[in-house]
Amino acid sequence: MTDPDVAGSLSIDGDDDIVTARMTIRQTASDLGFGITDTTRIVTAVSELARNIHLYAGSGTMRWRTRRDGERPVFEIIFDDDGPGIDDIEKALESGQSSANGMGQGLPGAKKLMDEFDLETSPGAGTTVTIGKYLQ
């Protein structure tokens, strides 16, 4: 990895933006030196979280950057919205347990695919999900 300092942001408003989010992060992950399988894991997690913003909050923002955890570079992606927030975090993180649309794979799926996962939310105060993948 020659240049670890990438950063950017993208607004998520419609389902076209889910596609743009996937394409942008695929290119960035590949440029950073992630292999095809890790890139697919990252892009799949991005697809789930970008869709969550589109479905539940209507609009929001995806930001990405690289940082170092000691010597280890981490590719970090942050999903931020001012939507309704999540009432029951434990339930939202259980596979197949989320309420709306009977989907409920998004958050637990993203967590399984990534090395780091952090969820900050409260009812009425929006949701921020931060995911990270270590670049070996």
């Binding site: 389902d15 076209d16 889910i18 399988t37 799949t44 697809s47 869709r51 596979s95 989907m103 695919l113």
Partner: protein, 123 residues
């Protein structure tokens, strides 16, 4: 959206070959589902099976996986055989790690094998 990002359904013998573009939106995937079902329903089509080709697709997330399973079930309900082709190694790994269940859907390595399976079902 450009024309090459639309889903397509072709007739090859007694099979319909349904393909997704490289970068499908959620609505593109729903649109393909409707397209497949309406083509099976056309009496002159006389389709024995449907090949669902995801070879161009780079990401299969939970929504996409659910639509594949749903579409396959609907195709079966209408009396045709669904066969999924084009699952890449990276997608196979991700779908398995996510715990998404494509277990009931018949798969084949390529379109030729899928069409052969459809013919075998029929005989």
């Amino acid at each position: 959206m450009s024309a090459d990002q639309r889903p397509s359904v072709m007739e090859v013998g007694d099979a319909l070959i349904a393909s997704l573009p490289e970068h499908p939106t959620d609505s593109t995937i729903s649109e393909l589902q409707e397209l497949i079902l309406s083509r099976i329903a056309r009496t002159d089509a006389d389709a024995d099976g449907v090949v669902l080709d995801v070879g161009a697709v780079q990401t299969v997330d939970s929504f996409f996986a659910r639509m594949i399973v749903e579409t396959a079930k609907m195709v079966e309900l209408m009396g045709a055989h669904p066969v999924l082709v084009g699952v890449s190694p990276a997608i196979a790994i991700t779908v398995t790690e996510l715990g998404l269940d494509l277990g009931e859907v018949e798969t084949a390595l390529g379109t030729d094998q899928a069409v052969a399976k459809i013919r075998a079902f029929d005989s």
